[in-house]
């Protein structure tokens, strides 16, 4: 197998389109992240007196401010309610898919002829997704499903996946890519 290198050369035709966040995008992004951190704080601390709650507010605000550079505002994608709705539908669907694959793997694990039935291979394919967040969604969903692990993914959409056997290799990229495409509206 050929050695993989760290540098990926990307040939761009023309300048990449920089989308400037709208005025409220930054604000919404901050508020959402702050709420997420604060709810996690409340659940983990479990104390609701004034001192601990105000400590939580201060800490959440500080971390929100610190992470502003790491997570630049990109709420634009989820401004449309339809995207959010599709995302909420996607999670149970993914859990169901994971469950189905898990049960198949469980039967394989107890199979006496395990090593004859598996056919590990590396499958490569190209997706139509370009958005970094969408690619991350795809890569993580593939890895989470038992039977397939993402080996590499790049911004041109080339994905290589280590598949466990023929059944899991045949299911790639499948519905998963279509659903993520619908969420991010990259039709």
């Amino acid at each position: 197998m050929e050695q993989m290198t760290d540098t990926v050369r990307v040939v761009r035709t023309g300048e990449p389109v920089k989308v400037k966040p709208r005025r409220y995008d930054a604000l919404i992004s901050f508020v959402l992240r702050f709420l997420m951190l604060f709810v996690t704080w409340l659940i983990l601390s479990g104390m609701f007196d004034a001192f601990h709650v105000s400590l939580g507010v201060a800490c959440s605000a500080f971390v929100t401010w610190l992470s502003a550079d790491i997570f630049p505002p990109e709420v634009r994608r989820f401004r449309k309610l339809r995207s959010l709705w599709l995302l909420t539908l996607y999670v149970p669907w993914l859990v169901w898919e994971i469950a189905k694959c898990n049960i198949r793997m469980l039967f394989l694990a107890f199979d006496p002829k395990l090593n004859d039935k598996i056919a590990p291979r590396i499958v490569t394919f190209k997706t139509g997704l370009r958005n970094e967040l969408a690619l991350t969604f795809l890569a993580n969903s593939i890895t989470m499903t038992p039977g397939t692990i993402t080996v590499s993914i790049d911004e041109r959409g080339y994905v290589s996946v280590h598949a466990f056997d023929e059944v899991s290799a045949a299911g790639l990229p499948g519905d998963m890519e279509k659903k993520i495409k619908a969420i991010f509206e990259e039709a």
């Binding site: 197998m1 050695q3 993989m4 996690t40 659940i43 983990l44 479990g46 859990v95 994971i98 469950a99 898990n102 793997m105 469980l106 394989l108 694990a109 107890f110 395990l114 090593n115 004859d116 598996i118 056919a119 590990p120 291979r121 590396i122 890569a139 993580n140 890895t143 989470m144 038992p146 039977g147 397939t148 692990i149 993402t150 080996v151 590499s152 280590h162 466990f164």
Partner: protein
């Protein structure tokens, strides 16, 4: 009734863990073993934790926070587990570890 459900969920979770462990021991190479390890911390953990949450509702209904903490645990594992798995596969590929293939498939390629 709910007791039976709790027992069933916990047993199913542990069955998944057992299967994953046996799979890890029986498979031929690091990449295929990672597939089995992924099985443990997705569905196995989810079912086991659901059993524990139900048990908590049954025996200490006031401790809702503990139940939320248990569910939060699955959320964290759901994010970290694919990352760790991908890191291991990537390290293996970069170091030049050839994936195991079926012996007859290897002969056909030569």
């Amino acid at each position: 009734m709910i007791e039976t459900l709790v027992i069933f969920l916990c047993c199913a979770g542990m069955l998944l863990f057992l299967g994953g462990m046996i799979g890890i021991l029986r498979l031929p190479d690091a990449y295929t073993r990672l597939h089995m390890a992924g099985m443990l911390d997705t569905l196995g953990l989810l079912i086991l934790l659901l059993g524990l949450v139900l048990y908590g509702f049954l025996h200490a209904p006031m401790s809702l926070l503990v139940q939320f903490k248990i569910l939060l645990l699955w959320g964290f594992v759901l994010v970290t587990s694919p990352t760790a798995t991908h890191a291991m596969v990537d390290a293996g590929v970069r170091a030049g570890l050839t994936p195991w293939v079926q012996p007859d498939a290897k002969r056909r390629r030569k």
